[in-house]
Symmetry: C2
Subunit: 335 residues, 2 copies
């Protein structure tokens, strides 16, 4: 039986991984093929290994891939994959867990920067708008010890985030689909569970996948449920939070803080251009989606994705298979 055909559409996969995959598959890289060769290859491709969604994989070309069985993402999330254009028997695998510890560390950097107002204080000293040893009202700087950490989405990032929270003496409230059985973590499910987590947490880390179910899950009503001086951290996807509702909430509640590494979509693509002047607000911290790239540098995301493709090639069920129904949104987002 001939080896399955695997197309890699990114240059982040190292040579050694390609060699490993080559034992079980005929491996092609889109960077080595001209357009004609690519088009000729499409009908025989069994597996796609992708990072960002490649621009040549438009609907027309996808429809030529009659043999396609698996798409493995090297990005953690899969909301950049055009589910509506795929045959129903194609399996899509996320890379959940591959960036967990690095992104959890980054989430905590955002959380602490907001809790201790590091960015604001630094810029105030820099522009000579601060005095030494200001007496603080107890509101500007949040003490975390013995407070409650809410975690929305309890996968690898959420679990690693809770572990870090223990070091700070915080208790964790997890909102997730499945029951979490972990020491020091209270588990919540469903709409009511989400409201409880939001209402009782002093800091909340959003670590949900972006799906049709979670799109804009944090809107004005959810924000109103939260404590007035809570901290909301987003290292998942910008679109999980309603942009205008958040802006209004930050303006109305100066003690509330939002710290994010992820941004809203403009014409289907994540963009640093916002609909409101968030950077004028002292209770907003934003960084340019670097938590993932910092994880990529560890080599783990490629390793995890390659191992999962190897599972499939060896006849095992791959991990992280997502439910396409949850990603079938009309307004597809690039990543």
């Amino acid at each position: 039986m001939p080896k399955p055909i695997l197309l890699i559409t990114t240059d982040v996969v190292d040579k050694r991984s390609v060699q490993t995959l080559s034992k079980y598959a005929r491996v092609f890289s889109s960077a080595d093929l001209d357009e004609a060769s690519l088009i000729q290859l499409f009908p025989s491709i069994d597996i796609l290994l992708v990072f960002f969604w490649p621009s040549f994989l438009i609907s027309e070309n996808l429809s030529r891939m009659s043999k396609l069985r698996v798409i493995q993402s090297i990005l953690a999330g899969v909301n950049h994959i055009p589910f509506a254009q795929l045959n129903k028997n194609v399996i899509v695998c996320s890379n959940a867990g591959a960036y967990s510890n690095e992104v959890a560390e980054y989430a905590w950097a955002l959380l602490l920067s907001a809790a201790k107002r590091i960015v604001d204080f630094h810029n105030a000293v820099k522009t000579e708008q601060s005095t030494l040893r200001r007496t603080l009202g107890g509101k500007e700087v949040t003490i975390l010890e013995e407070r409650t950490l809410g975690i929305l989405g309890y996968g690898g990032i959420g679990s690693a985030g809770a572990q870090i929270g223990k070091g700070f003496g915080m208790k964790s409230y997890a909102f997730s689909r499945e029951l979490v059985r972990e020491k020091g973590v209270r588990s919540f499910q469903g709409d009511k569970g989400l409201l409880t987590v939001l209402a009782e947490s002093d800091a909340v880390i959003v670590a949900l996948p972006l799906t049709a179910l979670t799109n804009k899950i944090i809107g004005s009503e959810k924000l109103a449920t939260m404590k007035r001086d809570a901290i909301l951290v987003n290292i998942a996807r910008g679109e999980l939070v309603d942009e205008t509702a958040l802006y209004e909430h930050l303006k109305a509640n100066p003690d509330f803080r939002y710290a994010t590494d992820v941004w809203w979509y403009r014409e289907g693509k994540e963009s640093l251009k916002t609909a409101h002047p968030f950077f004028e607000l002292p209770n907003f911290i934003g960084t340019p989606h670097v938590s993932g790239p910092s994880g990529l540098a560890t080599g783990k995301p490629v390793k995890f994705a390659v191992e999962n493709v190897m599972r499939f090639l060896r006849g095992l069920k791959p991990k992280n298979i997502v439910n396409p129904a949850e990603y079938l949104v009309t307004d597809r987002q690039e990543y």
Copy 2:
């Protein structure tokens, strides 16, 4: 026997604490006394409870306090106390431990802000000098998991800092006078021990008291010992680090980062005015000494200081008695 006389020179002590102290002492507050009454009171004062050093306690007035036996500081450190002007039998008590957890949290906020370059990234997005999902070389953002945390001075802050480090999966190297026997912490003493901790750590938290022994303990040679991409965090006293040596080191080593809440002295007082333009460097983070005030808001520093005075009033040996010899520096620093 008449009750001892206690003078409180700050308004941070709450009424309830004053009531508690009044059971065992006659309590006066300098804010309630005019100059003449104060001068009249000096010869009978047994105990001083101070926050910042009050301006009326000049040498001349101190020499009038022939009965003075104890000075209790509400600030954690005591380098603001004029040891040279005190009688040898006066006991000085620091408030070590009272701010430990809050300052340790703050140290970690600085550490993570530097490790993940939050301030730099935020300001780059704000000024539109950043692009989304930059590929990082693995140097800009430091991954902490499985790396080494150095802690200089292993008192309350150091110990709390190591506890937080465990949550991040870091191992701790402690430099201290006494041997540390704690799981997951390697203990180092002496000059050689200090050099080992500096050389092997990926991030270092300075939590030493400022004494004649520790003044400018981090100079150019010590900095040269450290890893080129290490992170140095100072939440103790600015003068522990040589200002010019640090500036030169930061300029020559862009991957090295310094994050501080504490500042150098100008004419004996901590000042935000620096001898070099630190804020022009992207690898410098500075906040205006707010870690202590954030701890003050918890009420613990006043509670701890009052409890220690109560120990003395009940005939017990107070805690946190410092060795005056270590603080007898010619150029006294205000705090």
